[in-house]
Point group: C2
Chain length 193, copies 2
């Protein structure tokens, strides 16, 4: 991706995280990214194009910060990799806060506006399948539908916890403990199958 | 509560569910409720007062529609009452849609705005404790911290599922199945303690 396009998407994620999807105006985005509105329309066609590309951009970014340690310190055991990938969504860093706030806003905007629904559903499905695959590496004898159900529960729980944390209702360490408890519970359930 | 106050809060919940917290203007609320802006300021003092009362209003409403069947058809067994109270949050009716959308918006607004944080945290805590108490009726020998943790996971999962459903990413029947699976998993975990 061209550096200028990246700069626009970074600015869009920042603005959405700060003020929501409905507050996003192309003029403001242009000012935030330090480019002309014409350039934004040239690259993204319209507001829908901006939103769809921003969703993809924040998903790619989450992919990177949740994959962090695996490449630094050699491969982890499946159980640790699973916990790591999920727990790295609950880090109190400006990047994760911004990314998760923007994700929550894009998700919430789809309640009123159909434009992002398919992209969100697809991104969620990919995430659920990724977690289900990791669960399958820990519990290879568990039936695939049970793995998919566990993956769905863990990721939906993580979205719920993330919103509670971001909205100030939960300390980050507590949110992480709750998530750890859920991973243990799902693995115990899959082990018993 | 005076009927006119109720009418204003009903209108506020409707507007927030339709356009979000940031889109809520007192003039528009007055028009939607068919009252003067002066009356709104008289009853709620300011915008914060409106938001806080609306949060309480939608919580009371959820309390009513999730308690539904117990009063109609005699008391349920603890296991059924638990499932009922949680599953009734996932009904495809205009009331539940509106209430859950408004709750999601109020939750999301607290990411940017501190004003509702304490009320949201308190409402969430009451809900978690209620679910923990029901879990304790099903599994009386489970230790209280384990019951609280299960209650926290089930309610956070429900918030996550609710957003996925409202944003069009999940059919309601599937969301209910996922929730049923989570209730089973939590009860199995508590049984093993």
């Amino acid at each position: 991706m061209a550096p200028r396009t990246t700069r626009i998407l970074e600015a869009a994620a920042r603005l959405i995280a700060r003020r929501g999807v409905r507050g996003l105006r192309v003029e403001e985005l242009a000012a935030e990214a330090g480019v002309s509105t014409g350039l934004i329309y040239y690259h993204f066609k319209d507001r829908t194009g901006i939103l769809r590309q921003t969703l993809e951009f924040i998903n790619d970014r989450a992919e990177r910060y949740t994959a962090g340690r695996t490449s630094d310190a050699g491969p982890l055991a499946p159980r640790e990799e699973l916990a790591e990938i999920l727990l790295l969504e609950l880090q109190d860093t400006p990047m994760v806060r911004e990314n998760s706030s923007a994700w929550g806003e894009l998700r919430a905007s789809a309640v009123f506006d159909e434009v992002l629904r398919d992209d969100l559903a697809r991104a969620t499905l990919v995430w659920v399948q990724e977690v289900a695959a990791l669960l399958g590496q820990v519990q290879p004898t568990a039936p695939p539908p049970a793995l998919a159900a566990s993956g769905e529960r863990l990721t939906a729980l993580l979205e719920g916890l993330s919103m509670r944390w971001l909205s100030g209702g939960l300390r980050i360490e507590h949110a992480r403990d709750v998530l750890r408890g859920a991973i243990d519970a799902e693995l115990a359930l899959l082990r018993g199958m």
